[in-house]
């Protein structure tokens, strides 16, 4: 399998805290890679830096074999790299259908086309249907339940058919049934060829879904292996349980 995303020596400090410290890892095309680690190990910072929400102090990034200088969220999304956020972020004042339609990569000259054109609407409805949200197409996203918002966020990210999706705690804050639903959706999308990089604390979820598992500690990877091996790695146990 080829390397879809390669991170090399990523470093990011906040004041005196080194959130990322020469962090390097790779995400293979077609994998569901997990990024785990104790609180404060730099997982979300890694996401923010990779997707261009925060500038890195040092390090480089390559996506689909091409170096990405000065990553920018909008440009990366158009290259095929998208992300979700920890707290299901949707556009509360817009309908679910509009939320999904925003995920399409529109060229600038399409800005004066109709807000919700027929083909857009049909695609949005089909996608919302896949996520069990068809009945809520015209509901304001702010009125959906938290679980539904998580599904909507995922659906809108997938609208542009990205190559790689970074999921920031997809199983956090939702009930076990919804966790299973989200997991099924990830599997379904994975079967269609989407690669995932997942930050998650819910270990059972990670162990079921992901391979390989990268363990971060103090801003750098200390292990990268199959889930079963990572579970028994003394360095990993030490990072989670040690002093």
């Amino acid at each position: 399998m080829s390397v879809l995303l390669a991170v090399q020596g990523l470093t990011k400090s906040f004041g005196g805290v080194r959130a990322l410290d020469g962090c390097s890892f790779e995400v293979a095309e077609g994998s569901v890679t997990a990024l785990i680690g104790p609180n404060g190990s730099g997982k979300t910072t890694a996401f923010n830096v990779i997707t261009g929400y925060q500038p890195a102090d040092a390090g480089s990034l390559a996506f689909r074999g091409r170096p990405v200088r000065r990553p920018d969220p909008c440009r990366l999304q158009r290259l095929g790299l998208s992300r979700t956020f920890q707290q299901a972020r949707v556009f509360p004042g817009l309908t679910a259908a509009e939320n999904v339609i925003l995920g399409r990569n529109e060229p600038w000259h399409a800005l004066l086309r109709r807000r919700v054109a027929g083909p857009d609407r049909r695609r949005a409805e089909a996608l919302l249907g896949e996520f069990g949200l068809a009945a809520h197409a015209d509901t304001a996203a702010g009125r959906l339940s938290y679980g539904q918002r998580k599904l909507l966020e995922l659906a809108s990210v997938l609208m542009a058919e990205p190559a790689l999706v970074l999921l920031d705690e997809p199983a956090a804050g939702i009930n076990p049934v919804m966790v299973k639903t989200i997991e099924d959706h990830i599997r379904r999308m994975h079967a269609r060829g989407v690669t995932f990089l997942v930050v998650e604390h819910e270990m059972k979820f990670v162990m079921r879904l992901c391979d390989p598992v990268i363990v971060l500690d103090r801003g750098r990877p200390i292990a990268c292996d199959a889930p079963r091996k990572v579970q028994n790695d003394p360095r990993v146990l030490d990072a989670y349980l040690g002093d």
Binding site: D72, P92, L94, L111
Partner: protein, 324 residues
């Protein structure tokens, strides 16, 4: 139609100003409402338009009568273009920082108007040649010009609302960072909204200058003008096409009356502040969306009402969400 509504000079004068404010509020709404960027210094662009009109008629020899009206379009387009680099800079900030910077811009423009005496006459002001219209119907051409500009502004608003541009602006309003991550061209749409909004303010300023005939910096670049427009948009409802117009229809005449009765004491400013607080507290969505929902024109369970109330309750009505 106009003579049926009003024939007295003071009545038509009131209409001219109310229609102007309706247009200003709607133009402000493009950026302040649809995109949620709390611009408080749009008076600067109004002033630029006003001075451009005055200087155009005095120095460029455009001619008298209806001919100065020909200047409106180039003034609007010119302002929209010139404002682009400034807008680009300002739009790097958000929420309160953006509001403060726009106010700063306003006072910078005002200071320039005081100091570039060769063009603006400084604090002694400029006198625009009086339009040679018949005294009995002097205000009418200005009323029609303002009404045409209001119609144009509403048409622009309608196009924006029903296009992908409006959808992208609304996404910026709701969560700009996530919009960027979804591939929405946030920079571009914000710039367009800013420039169009500023250009329209300049157009209204140009007509206003020709109408009042006299300008000096504190008058042509009065912070309260844009603040009034903001208040009207809030009262009428920023999410409705007609919201700003309804707000202007209510506040415009009241404002003229207050200024006329209490103008010297500036007590009317207190009334402004009180009204603003009441609107935020009692009608956070504004009159038009609230009425529309009461009348059941929006499907129950759909409108954005709850989301807006939540934003108001948490004080985040203008602020963008932080990074997760």
């Amino acid at each position: 139609m106009l003579p049926l509504i009003a024939s007295q000079h003071w009545q038509v004068n009131l209409l001219v100003f109310t229609v102007m404010y309706a247009g200003l509020a709607a133009a402000w709404n493009l950026l302040g409402g649809y995109a949620g960027y709390p611009a408080l210094g749009h008076t600067a662009f109004f002033g630029v338009g006003a001075y451009a009109m005055a200087i155009g008629t005095i120095h460029l020899g455009v001619g008298a009568g209806y001919r100065p009206f020909l200047l409106i379009a180039p003034i609007a387009v010119g302002t929209a273009v010139v404002v682009l680099p400034i807008a680009r800079l300002l739009l790097r900030t958000r929420a309160a920082a953006f509001a403060v910077l726009t106010i700063t811009l306003l006072f910078m423009v005002q200071t320039l108007a005081y100091n570039i005496r060769s063009l603006t006459g400084g604090s002694s002001g400029l006198i625009v040649p009086i339009a040679p219209f018949p005294v009995a119907t002097f205000e009418r051409p200005f009323y029609y010009a303002m009404a045409a500009l209001l119609a144009l502004t509403l048409a622009v608003c309608w196009v924006v609302r029903t296009s992908k541009l409006g959808l992208a602006l609304n996404a910026v309003r709701d969560d700009e960072d996530r919009a960027r991550g979804l591939g929405v061209q946030t920079e571009l749409v914000k710039l367009v909204a800013f420039a169009v909004s500023a250009g329209l303010f300049a157009a209204f300023g140009a007509v206003w200058a020709y109408y009042v005939g006299f300008l000096y910096p504190g008058f042509a670049i009065d912070p309260l003008l844009a603040l009034g427009a903001v208040l009207m948009a809030f009262l009428g409802g920023r999410r409705a096409l007609w919201g700003p117009v309804v707000g202007a229809a209510l506040i415009g005449p009241a404002q003229q009356y207050f200024a006329y009765r209490f103008g010297a004491s500036q007590l009317y400013l207190l009334a402004y502040a009180a009204l603003f607080l009441l609107v935020i507290y009692l009608l956070p969505e504004g009159i038009v969306p609230t009425l529309a929902r009461r009348l059941g024109r929006l499907r129950p369970g759909s409108g954005p009402g709850k989301a807006v109330r939540d934003q108001v309750a948490t004080g985040s009505i203008f602020s963008a969400g932080d990074l997760g």
